[in-house]
Symmetry: C2
Subunit: 350 residues, 2 copies
Amino acid sequence: MDLTERKRRILRAIIESYIQSAEPVGSKAIAQAIGMEVSSATIRNEMADLESMGLLEKPHTSAGRIPSPKGYRLYVNELMEEHKLSLQETQRINQALRLKMQELDRVLDQAGRVVSQLTNYPAFALSSGMSRVTIRRFDLLMVERNAFIIVVMTDSNIVRNRLIRLPSDLTEAQLQMLNTLLNTTFTGLSLEEITPELMRVAQHAAGDAYGLISLVVSFAIEVLESLERRTVHTSGLAHLLELPEYRSLERAQPLLSYLSEDADPARFPVPKDDPMKILIGPENVADALKDTSVVVASYDIGDGMRGVIGVVGPTRMDYAKITARLSYLAEGLSRLFGRGELSDGRDDSK
Amino acid sequence: MDLTERKRRILRAIIESYIQSAEPVGSKAIAQAIGMEVSSATIRNEMADLESMGLLEKPHTSAGRIPSPKGYRLYVNELMEEHKLSLQETQRINQALRLKMQELDRVLDQAGRVVSQLTNYPAFALSSGMSRVTIRRFDLLMVERNAFIIVVMTDSNIVRNRLIRLPSDLTEAQLQMLNTLLNTTFTGLSLEEITPELMRVAQHAAGDAYGLISLVVSFAIEVLESLERRTVHTSGLAHLLELPEYRSLERAQPLLSYLSEDADPARFPVPKDDPMKILIGPENVADALKDTSVVVASYDIGDGMRGVIGVVGPTRMDYAKITARLSYLAEGLSRLFGRGELSDGRDDSK
DNA sequence: GTTAGCACTCAGGGGGTTTGAGTGCTAAAA
DNA sequence: TTTTAGCACTCAAACCCCCTGAGTGCTAAC
């Protein structure tokens, strides 16, 4: 796509004005905006050219021009200037990262919220389900004679626990025996490898305490399953209604329900190779997103796994600002996970 | 409020029609609906009476009538027929209760979602923050030479854990010592009782491992704080837009943002004495809820604590159906917690 | 290649009219 | 006394029409 410098300036001015105002942009406004000594007629000629190249479109004959998805694409790839975060913005992100981010589980949710607040657009966060997680170790802690805590730690250093109450009493020795048995039999196994036969063998070996085996192992299975499952968290959906393009319910509702809770993780785009990806309008696969744009970033959560966080908005979203904030946050999250600062989880019972 | 039987029937018919259609109800429609051999003129006279009693109102002179909040209140208190759950509905609720309810932490969220799906209204769930929680016991589990797991259990039987990595190595003996020290010094203490002086004394006693004390104790403090904090989960906000009364953005948006994430728990009404409470329109304290109705139910989560779950919608919400579903679900939740079937939590690190 | 000028287009807003559902009142019937 | 039929009245919503003004494309001159 080779454009004259002037065309580029005009296109950029149109896009930035439209991003701001959501109103079609006329030739006169642009003539002023670019501060060149050309008349609106010249701009009109140029705009006609840009339109025939598919970079602009007209909502109707006598309105100004609006950028086409192709126009946004060119803008994003070539014209857009890096948006620098203000000190205030970085501070806000940093604070958000520090704050309440201790629990891996909530990080997703929290990250989505932060992004949504930061950008004023709805945001989503995906956990990339891990594959072939295994239990690294079991610990059984006696609490009372008829209650103990299971603590399970996976090969990816995730720790979960559960309190178990029993109808009957239990000795410390039994618990010890059980502990050893579990650690020798069920560690290093992935979900598929925990077979009913294995369970039977272990139950046999456990003697009196055979019932406890299945209690503990089914907890372990739950943990493994929950880690392999992908989940979505969305937040800031209400921001959608603040945007002029979603002031009409007919437009807002389908998108809103597409993004709403219980959304299928597969619905959401994921950056493949790059750390960040911008999908403009029809570049989205999902129909409901066909006239929205999505910006997604991924971050490292250790063990080669990546988290995904993204923003959804109208095609005229402020790409420069959003990419800047999103990538800063994603970097922060990577750092957070990388340093292992993030370590808590929680487990509770009753 | 003594009304003739006929007036009661008319009022009820008006309310139920309006609940259904959201359209003002005219005298003719009612004359048919109640199947009495009276003319619309008679109904008009009766409606005029009901209006002068404040039970009905007119949006404007030449429209039909709509129920006033006072009318709904009468309906809820006296006229409403118990809605019976269909087999299908109870099955759905039961299944929802079984499914994915293992983690206390997520119960809130999950319960809100279920309600929202069940009623097609936005729902909220509150955790009633506990007061004066204390740590009952500490367990430190060695993982590697430079990593260990903290497991903390509160007096309310909630267990949380965290993985800690250290820059330097640690002996099993040190960990043992630390463990004993923590259990003798910091158990049975509430948040306020964990003073800096106490910390200093303990650090002194810990010798070389003094740094670890603050690591572990600050984790314990985090846990106590998180339990004392009240939180809200909202879900199904998108349902709001499906309702005719919220088809105009000006009406939907304030409510939506009132309910949106990061909402203050104090905003939400809580049933005090009864297990269920209905707040109709102006009966709500919050301005944003002045022309909505809220139905809240509470359920027992053990230790004398109660969870709260509620539904928000237009004043013409289907009280019969919603109270039935909500109370069934609340009972189910109470049972679930009561039996202690609910026990998992989760804790993870890295 | 650029500009001024001009005829043309069309969404959006304002104002007026029509429609129809619903009301209140009155007078007659039960 | 209660109910009913009839009729005049009201008013939101739908529709229509016209006007306005921002913006365009084209052409002819610079």
